[in-house]
Point group: C2
Chain length 234, copies 2
DNA sequence: CGTCCATTTGATCAGGGTCAAGACGAGTGG
DNA sequence: CCACTCGTCTTGACCCTGATCAAATGGACG
């Protein structure tokens, strides 16, 4: 493996405020790894030997039920940690992480986590803050699934993706990695058929443009009003 | 306020392995507080001035949507922490906590959290482990909402409550605090009507016995097979 | 050019939400 | 002690959202 340059991680929030020598020390413990599209970074139930930082690409975190159904828990963007089971006192990964495109990650052996957290308090605190933020998001997702209609959930999911990974194009804001109807269905607890029907309806209304594994949001604001649309069951 | 005796907290996992003097030090910073049934321990969006340990009673943690719908995120049992927003880098509570029965809690001012975590590493680690465990549970809840039928979700919810707070009676295992059909509906993303129908159906089959704000599970194992019952949408 | 996968779209239908009444039981005030 | 009230629970009727089933279309890629 080649020497890793500290510029790789200098700009990442969780390493903010560390001395160059510290960054080098952290990188020294890491190995860099490429993950081809559709390959897994780590697998649900697998021994949690490492934790990871995504340097480039997009990763989806997926939980699979015993009967084979899948739920996409979240998408990871560059600069985010993943597989931090160790920080939570777990020894196995609770979900799988699949590269949505070719990715580059840094990997550290799990056992160095406590060491790093002790040596660099900001890193430890940042990790916990990440975990806390994810707990909030996940709880918000529970509320959404429990109280909102499918249309609102799908609209919200698209808006979240746009915010997280949107790239401006002449048509509108493009979700910057390949995403299928099936993927959107697995994020929102519905079926690809329903997602397809919603997208074509929205396309007719000019809210989005979409194609094969591609979605562009043309009118985020209108989509937002749709996402907030009135209540339902309960 | 009267002096707090260390026996109050000596048996609680998160304080395990601390010297008596440490326990006294921790208690010295706490105040004890009674919360009458249906009163809130803390409120969603409110300034997170304190964090809490439930000593006695049962508390439900509730998120309310802008349009007034409620979702019960979890029930807290004696010995568990709640309102630990500070540990997650938040300044407001993300949910409300309501006493399901008359309760006794210990409360610490939020700002002492970092101090306690630094002084008692086990306490800090224990808190994070709690947060991690809750993240896992919440993600499992998302998967359940996204992939399971209402009947299975309600069955699971009852089994969780039985495991958490069940008390053996001659009829079976009683959920040890008042819980309404509406409460169960808010835990599972359905309506009180559907919960009522399910419970009467189960009662006819001899799986449960239930009454006003009271549920006893007679045949946990049969209920479990029902909860695991085959797949569905997706 | 053929194969495979993503997508679309129609038809059907059922799970469970909504609407509407009532029954039941516990607590309250007279 | 009784009447009343309020909140919980039950139950029936109806119907809508969205899942399921089934096929066909259309790109992408080897």
């Amino acid at each position: 493996m080649s020497r890793l340059d500290r510029s790789l991680i200098a700009g990442i929030p969780i390493f903010q405020g560390m001395a160059p020598a510290d960054l080098d020390g952290i990188l020294h413990k890491a190995r860099s790894q490429r993950i081809a599209k559709d390959q897994t970074v780590f697998e649900q139930e697998g021994e949690a030997h490492s934790f990871f930082l995504l340097l480039d690409g997009h990763v989806r975190v997926v939980k699979t039920t015993p009967d084979g159904q899948q739920v996409i828990v979240r998408y990871i963007s560059p600069g985010e940690l993943m597989g931090i089971a160790h920080a939570l006192g777990r020894t196995t990964y609770p979900a799988s992480a699949v590269a949505a495109v070719d990715c580059v990650v840094l990997a550290w052996p799990g056992p160095v986590w406590p060491e790093m957290a002790a040596t660099f308090p900001n890193f430890g605190a940042g990790t916990y803050k990440t975990v806390g933020a994810r707990l909030q998001e996940t709880q918000a997702h529970v509320v959404e699934l429990a109280t909102k209609q499918v249309e609102q959930r799908v609209a919200h999911a698209l808006l979240r993706l746009v915010k997280q990974t949107g790239r401006k194009t002449e048509d509108g804001i493009l979700i910057d990695f390949p995403i299928s109807r099936q993927d959107i269905a697995e994020m929102t607890g519905t079926t690809l058929h329903t997602v397809s029907r919603l997208l074509t309806a929205w396309e007719d209304k000019g809210l989005v443009k979409s194609g094969r594994q591609k979605v562009t949001v043309v009118e985020p604001h209108l989509l937002f009003t749709l996402a907030e649309g009135q209540a339902d069951k309960g």
